[in-house]
Amino acid sequence: MKQGNGTVPRIGVYVCHCGTNIAGNVDVKAVVDFASKLPGVVVAREYKYMCSDPGQSLIKNDIREKNLNRVIVASCSPHLHEHTFRHATLEGGQNPYLFHMVNIREQVSWVTEDKMSATEKAKALVEAAVYRVRYHEALETKEVPVNPDVLIIGGGIAGITAALTLANAGKKVYLVERDYSIGGHMAKFDKTFPTLDCASCILTPKMTAVKDHPNIHLFTYSEILEIDGYVGNFTARILKKPRYVIEDRCIGCYVCVEHCVYKTPKFPSEFDEGLGLRKPVFIPFPQAVPLIAAIDPETCIEFKSHRCKKTCQEACRDLVGRDAIDFTQREEVVEVQVGAIIVATGFKTFDARRIPEYGYGRYPNVYTSLEIERLVNSSGPTGGEIVMRDGRKPRRVGIIHCVGSRDRNFNPWCSRVCCMYSLKLAHLVRERTGAEVYNFYIDIRTPGKGYEEFYEKLMQEGVHFIRGKVAEVTDWTITPEETGKLVIRVEDSLVGVVRRIPVDMVILSVGLEPRDDAEEVRRQLNISCSSEGWFLERHPKLAPVSTFTDGIFIAGACQGPKDIPDTVAQAGAAAAEALALIDRGSVELEPNIAVIDEQKCSGCHVCIALCPYSAIAFNEEKNVAVINEALCKGCGVCVGTCPSKAITQQLFTDEELLAEIEGVLLV
């Protein structure tokens, strides 16, 4: 064994049971016995929960009493408790970077079936650490100030709530929404469960508050191009897409829309889920924030042929005197500096075409729940009247639950809101049309305040509930009663028979899915996704809105399916976490950065060109490269490429890594 960095190492090794998480599958005592005989180890101990107060005290006391100068804890992932134990080391009187953590839970006990091999692997990893720590050196952390401004991505109810909370606390917020208006899915609903309060009555005031708040800078029809930097000091480049209407001139008066060369709306309105029509120049919905017109170049004649009479532009100029329409508008890139980022990009609904046996897209009277939300909405395409695509009013309606959810062929998860919104839609449809409504469900899941009571109320109202997964929706009819209707074929699993229920209208309660671009957003922000594509929280119970990237928080349905109450609660939590970070004022930076040995540097410039973060400059006087500590991310590219081996990376020096390998191979 090599001698390390000069000081004679006095190592303490602490092996954690983590209850039975580790001890159930690793012979902890054997690991401790093994560790106690390794060179340099002064003390080796086991403890049930090393992260507990008494556990940490063991470390602190041993440092003081046994003069330890290196500490190793073999327990869970460093993501969870590296900080805890570094802090304990510091409190014991040693530099926190003389501590090293070994993960024998996620990487050993949880993933190794055989106890013998698990124990052997734990020993090997501990030995690797014992060899490694002798090369550890005391390192200094750098404190950098935190920029007090916050970026929020996504302007659904999650982003809106977080923005208002932060802005009310006096922080400056940049809210970036991809669509023409903020509001997200909630803006499309008529009523919300379980209280059936009017969605726009509770949402619109918040949307307007966002627009009017002096601390909120709203970017709509905008996207994030790039995020750079680190906790406390991020730079975001925001792309403002052209809407061909000058924002601060438009007053949302609709005159341009009225004067469009298309006398009547002709193109499917995205906001109305294609059930209503709009013109090429349009305002997505009457409560839109900002209430500003936009021109869609895909359908506008001027963009297609340059031959339009441009009556909209003329009307805006001559009748309103605003001259807000600008066909030459270009996209624009804006750069902002922030200290924290909240991601609130929400979800998308399951594409019902993926289950062709439910007939969506083939039978006009099969609808998705989101379409029905528009149909029952008093500001929707039918003014709230429920008429089907063929102009009839439904007399019998079937609502199919769990479309795409809890299904191994599609998404295994429960989408959590569909039972409740199905009940809501059942109530609204019944109330508006008097139709007989059937719910087809696997299980009814109504855990929430007032939710079970709402279910009870619907049963009282006479809505039918049939337990069974629907096999198909078909226009294969066999009785006179079925003629002209859609038939829902289902095994009624409470009665034990296969039933055919004829209905006029089918509503598919589509589940919630991660957005198509979730992976892209994840990569931009360097955060993690679960295998399904939901953004991953740092800890499912104890850090539900933090991510593994410091300074970036998540809120709302982008983290997993959830209803509005949960979304709003999470958005508040994310805002509070961001506030905590900002009000601390500064953050400590991990010292895992590259350092250049000026003696060895030959001034060849190779590293400068390769650094992905432009963190390396050149000092002409000394003829050496210089690393900017604040910009260096510790990626190691320069370390690997330096021809003179002049660059090392703190916490990952060659000596440390080679000793670690030596240790792991020795067992």
Partner: protein, 289 residues
């Protein structure tokens, strides 16, 4: 691309018009189709449930024979298609079973069992290898105005075999469209034809036949296009019984899809086996001529 043709028992028996029209189709497309030499039963029938290993051996012998040639196997009968695919899947996954079968095949002089040989349905080959554009441009007798009820049956789209969606397949629809047919969309594409129930539980079998015929009639079809010898047999032969039992007149020619393809590509109607049908099938082609 070369193909090995595995007829199975039905294309030499009740489904002989399937064979004739299949061969005519491939001939019109100039695609060589070599019949597998010395083939045997695919292992369907009740053998599977009595002795699975023997049945697999029987089936695997065909795969071993085909391993001598290169090229995919074409198995037009849905049962053969399913069983041969299933055999290859089972043997790929189960090493012990595979070794046993390989040993036994060696005893009869078959040294080589290539489990990566692909077993294909001719519908798959026509739509996905030959391609609809090629077919569309090869059509000489466009089937304009012929209203066809496409019927897939239960076997070829089973999950795991599939070249198409298991509950709502569309390949046959698209192929028929390429021939100029008016294709009827309907929800019974993969519903049971009665299978062997027509022989064992006639009442149930005939009811299932009736459901399909009735729906095709209701939707104004001139004919039903099938792609399985048993489906064709049930719908053709039991048509009269269904009519009597349910007191409803049917006069539905039940065609193999290959008969429509071959005819459209210019084959002589005398070469596509129309004479083997119970319900006279010539009327369909007179209609388009």
């Amino acid at each position: 691309m070369a193909y090995v043709y595995y007829p199975g028992c039905s294309l030499k028996g009740t489904g002989v018009s399937y064979e004739k029209s299949l061969l005519a189709t491939f001939k019109r497309l100039n695609i060589p189709l070599q019949e597998l030499d010395d083939w045997n039963c695919c292992g369907a029938t009740s053998y599977m449930s009595i002795s699975e290993e023997q049945a697999l051996l029987l089936s695997a012998r065909n795969l071993a024979l085909a391993s001598e040639n290169d090229g995919d196997i074409i198995a037009p009968c849905s049962a053969c298609y399913m069983i041969l695919n299933r055999t290859a899947n089972i043997l790929r996954d189960d090493r012990t079973l595979r070794q046993k079968i390989v040993e036994k095949l060696k005893n009869v002089g078959l040294e080589h069992l290539n489990l990566s040989v692909r077993v294909r349905h001719p519908l798959d080959v026509l739509v996905n290898d030959v391609g609809l554009d090629t077919i569309r441009s090869a059509v000489v007798n466009k089937l304009t105005g012929l209203r066809v009820f496409p019927y897939y049956g239960c076997l070829i789209v089973r999950p795991g075999n599939g070249f198409d969606h298991p509950t709502y397949p569309t390949s046959l629809d698209r192929l028929l469209e390429a021939l100029g047919c008016e294709v009827i969309d309907h929800p019974l594409k993969t519903r049971c034809c009665g299978g062997s129930l027509t022989g064992t539980l006639e009442e149930v079998g005939v009811r299932l036949v009736y459901i399909l015929l009735k729906e095709a009639k209701k939707r104004g079809a001139h004919t039903l296009a099938t792609l399985c010898a048993l489906c064709q047999f049930n719908l053709d032969v039991y048509q009269e019984k269904a009519a009597r039992k349910y007191n409803e007149a049917f006069d539905f020619p039940i065609l193999f899809f290959t008969q429509l393809v071959a005819f459209a590509l210019g084959a002589n109607p005398r070469d596509i086996g129309l004479e083997h049908h119970f319900v006279p099938a010539e009327q369909v082609f007179e209609m388009v001529r």
